[in-house]
C-alpha cells in the first residue's frame, strides 16, 4: 500500500534519514521503533508532506507523494496522529472532530465516522462542548486519535502515541490500536515503547541514526539478539 524507497531527508547539512526503504501492507500494523533522535518523526513528517525529501520516493497505491503538499496527502487518506497531539486548543471537542473530516472525501462519511469515534471513546461523547485545551492528557490523546479516525483514513500513522502518558493510559492507547486493527485499519506505528509496539505489530523496522538496521515480523524483531540488548535491556 505504502512504499518508501531510498528516502533521504536533510535539515541543512544534517542528514536525518540516510536512504530508508520500507513498505506497509494493507490491513497490517507496521511499527518503526528506535531511540530518540533516530529519525522516526522525520520519517512520518516526510510521508505527510510536512518535510521535503532530498532524494528517494514515497508511493501510496502507485501514486508518488514526495512532491505533493500536506493537505493533498491528507485528502488521499494518509492521516497522522501527531506527536504532542496538536489539537486545536480553543475549539470544542466536537469542532476538533469536525475538522478531522474537513477534506471532501472524509466529509461524506462524517456521520458514521462520528459514531465510530464515540464508540471507541464514549468519554468524548460526554465532552463534545468542552474546549480541547481543558481536557486531561488522556482525553486529549483520545481526541487526537478520534480526529484522525474522522478523516476516514486509509493509512493511520501514530507518532509516539504513548509519549508522556501514565502507564494505564499507555495500555489503553495500545488497546485502541488493536481495536482499530481489528476493524481493518492499516496502521504505521512509530514508538520508543519497543516491547509493546512489537507485540502488536505484523511487521517491524528498527531505525537507528537514520538507517534501518533490522526488519522482520514483530515477533522476529522482538526475539532478535540486537533488539533485546539495545532496547529491551535483557
Amino acid at each position: 500500500m505504502l512504499t518508501v524507497k531510498d528516502l533521504k531527508v536533510q535539515y541543512g547539512a544534517f542528514v536525518a534519514l540516510h536512504g530508508v526503504s520500507l513498505s506497509v501492507t494493507e490491513g497490517q500494523v507496521v511499527s518503526i521503533v528506535g531511540a530518540n533522535g533516530a529519525g522516526k518523526t522525520t520519517l512520518i513528517n516526510t510521508i505527510s508532506g510536512l518535510l521535503r525529501p532530498t532524494a528517494g520516493e514515497i508511493s501510496f497505491e502507485g501514486r508518488e507523494l514526495a512532491r505533493l503538499e500536506s493537505h493533498t496527502i491528507a485528502s488521499l487518506g494518509i492521516v497522522q496522529v501527531p506527536e504532542g497531539r496538536k489539537l486545536f486548543p480553543d475549539m470544542t471537542v466536537y469542532e476538533n472532530l469536525l475538522m478531522g473530516s474537513y477534506s471532501k472525501r472524509a466529509k461524506q462519511y462524517r456521520k458514521e465516522s462520528l459514531e465510530m469515534v464515540f464508540h471507541l471513546f464514549p468519554r468524548l461523547e460526554q465532552r463534545t462542548k468542552q474546549l480541547a485545551r481543558t481536557l486531561s492528557g488522556g482525553e486529549q490523546q483520545m481526541l487526537a486519535v478520534g480526529r484522525a479516525v474522522m478523516s476516514k483514513p486509509r493509512l493511520m500513522m501514530f507518532d509516539e502515541p504513548s509519549l508522556g502518558l501514565a502507564p494505564l493510559l499507555v495500555q489503553s492507547i495500545f488497546q485502541t490500536i488493536r481495536q482499530l486493527k481489528e476493524a481493518g485499519m492499516t496502521i504505521m506505528l512509530v514508538e520508543q515503547n519497543v516491547r509493546q509496539s512489537l507485540q502488536i505489530s505484523d511487521y517491524a523496522y528498527v531505525l537507528e541514526t537514520g538507517q534501518i538496521v533490522l526488519e522482520g515480523s514483530g515477533q522476529a524483531v522482538l526475539e532478535n539478539e540486537h533488539t533485546r540488548k539495545a532496547y529491551l535491556g535483557i
Binding site: 510536512l50 500536506s70 493537505h71 501527531p82 486545536f88 486548543p89 480553543d90 475549539m91 475538522m99 478523516s151
Partner: protein, 292 residues
C-alpha cells in the same frame, strides 16, 4: 471647560456610535494577526482606498452611500488578496522586522500614491443621511453614525457566525490555532491565509461605505484609523475577536468623552495613556490569554 451632564451624555452616545466603527475597523486586523501572525501596517491605507471608492461613487456617480458597500467590500477583498499574494505571502516566514518594514512601506506607498492621484484635498460628500439627526432627550443622535453603528454590529455578527459555523470559517480558526495540524487534516493553509487576508481587508470596505456620509476622505485618513486599529487590537488581546469589539467601544468612548471634557488635543493623550496603562498591567491586552 464647561462641564454639564448633557455634554457628557452626548459624548457617551457619540463615543459608543464611533466605537462601533472602530471595532469594525479592528476585527479584520486582529483576525489577520491571529491567523498568520502579521500586523498589516497598511490596514489604515486599505480603509482609505475604500473611502475613495465610496466617495467617487456617491459624490461623482450619484450612488446612495450605503449601496456602495456592494462595490467597496468585494473591491477591498480583491485589493487585500492581490497585495497579500504579491508582497506579503513571499515574506511570511521571514523575521518579523522584515514584515513590519514591508507593510509600513506599503502604507507609505499607498498614502503617497493617493497624494499624487487625488491631491491633498479633504473631500466630503453630502448626502441626505448627513443631515438626518434626531433628539434622544438632550442628546443629538446623528442618523449616519447610528446607521454606521448598526451596520458595524451586523457585520461583526455576520463575521462571527462565519468563523464559528461554516467549514471555511472553522478552517480559518483551525489554521490560527495550529497551522501544521490544520494542514494534516487537509486544510490548504495557503488558500486559507489568502481568504483570511481578503476577508480582513473586506471589512474595511464595509467600514468605508458606512463612514462616507459623516467622515471626510483624504490621503492621510488611514493614519488616524490605522493607529486606532492597532491600539484596539492590542488592547483587546491580539487575535481576539470579541476583545477587539469591546476594545473598539472602549476607545470610542475614551476619545469622545476625552474630547468633550479635556481641552484641545489632550483627548488623544487620554486614549494613549489608557493604552499604556493597560499594557503595563495587562501586556496581553484586556481580553488576552484566550484566543479565538
Amino acid at each position: 471647560m464647561i462641564f454639564s451632564y448633557e455634554l457628557l451624555a452626548q459624548a457617551i452616545v457619540t463615543g459608543i456610535l464611533i466605537g462601533g466603527i472602530f471595532a469594525l475597523i479592528s476585527v479584520g486586523l486582529s483576525m489577520i494577526w491571529g491567523v498568520m501572525r502579521i500586523i498589516n501596517f497598511a490596514h489604515g491605507e486599505f480603509l482609505m482606498i475604500g473611502m475613495y471608492i465610496a466617495y467617487f461613487l456617491t459624490a461623482k456617480a450619484g450612488w446612495d452611500p450605503y449601496l456602495t458597500i456592494f462595490i467597496t467590500t468585494p473591491m477591498l477583498f480583491l485589493v487585500g488578496a492581490l497585495i497579500f499574494q504579491s508582497t506579503i505571502r513571499p515574506i511570511l516566514k521571514d523575521p518579523s522586522m522584515n514584515q513590519i518594514m514591508l507593510t509600513l512601506g506599503l502604507s507609505l506607498i499607498l498614502q503617497n500614491l493617493a497624494l499624487v492621484v487625488f491631491k491633498a484635498d479633504v473631500l466630503t460628500s453630502s448626502t441626505a443621511y448627513t443631515r438626518m439627526n434626531f433628539m434622544l432627550g438632550p442628546v443629538v443622535v446623528r442618523g449616519s453614525q447610528l446607521i454606521a453603528f448598526v451596520g458595524s454590529a451586523l457585520t461583526a455578527v455576520f463575521l462571527y457566525w462565519f468563523l464559528q459555523k461554516t467549514e471555511s470559517g472553522r478552517a480559518i480558526r483551525a489554521t490560527a490555532q495550529n497551522r501544521e495540524a490544520a494542514a494534516l487534516v487537509g486544510v490548504n493553509v495557503r488558500t486559507t491565509y489568502l481568504l483570511a487576508f481578503g476577508i480582513g481587508s473586506a471589512t474595511l470596505g464595509v467600514a468605508a461605505s458606512l463612514m462616507i456620509p459623516f467622515y471626510y476622505t483624504s490621503p492621510t485618513v488611514g493614519l488616524f484609523f490605522g493607529l486606532i486599529a492597532y491600539v484596539v487590537v492590542v488592547l483587546g488581546g491580539l487575535g481576539n475577536f470579541i476583545g477587539a469589539l469591546v476594545a473598539g467601544l472602549i476607545i470610542g468612548l475614551t476619545e469622545s468623552v476625552g474630547a468633550a471634557m479635556l481641552p484641545g488635543s489632550l483627548s488623544r493623550v487620554l486614549t494613549y495613556s489608557l493604552f499604556v496603562v493597560v499594557l503595563l498591567f495587562r501586556p496581553q491586552g484586556i481580553f488576552g490569554g484566550k484566543q479565538q
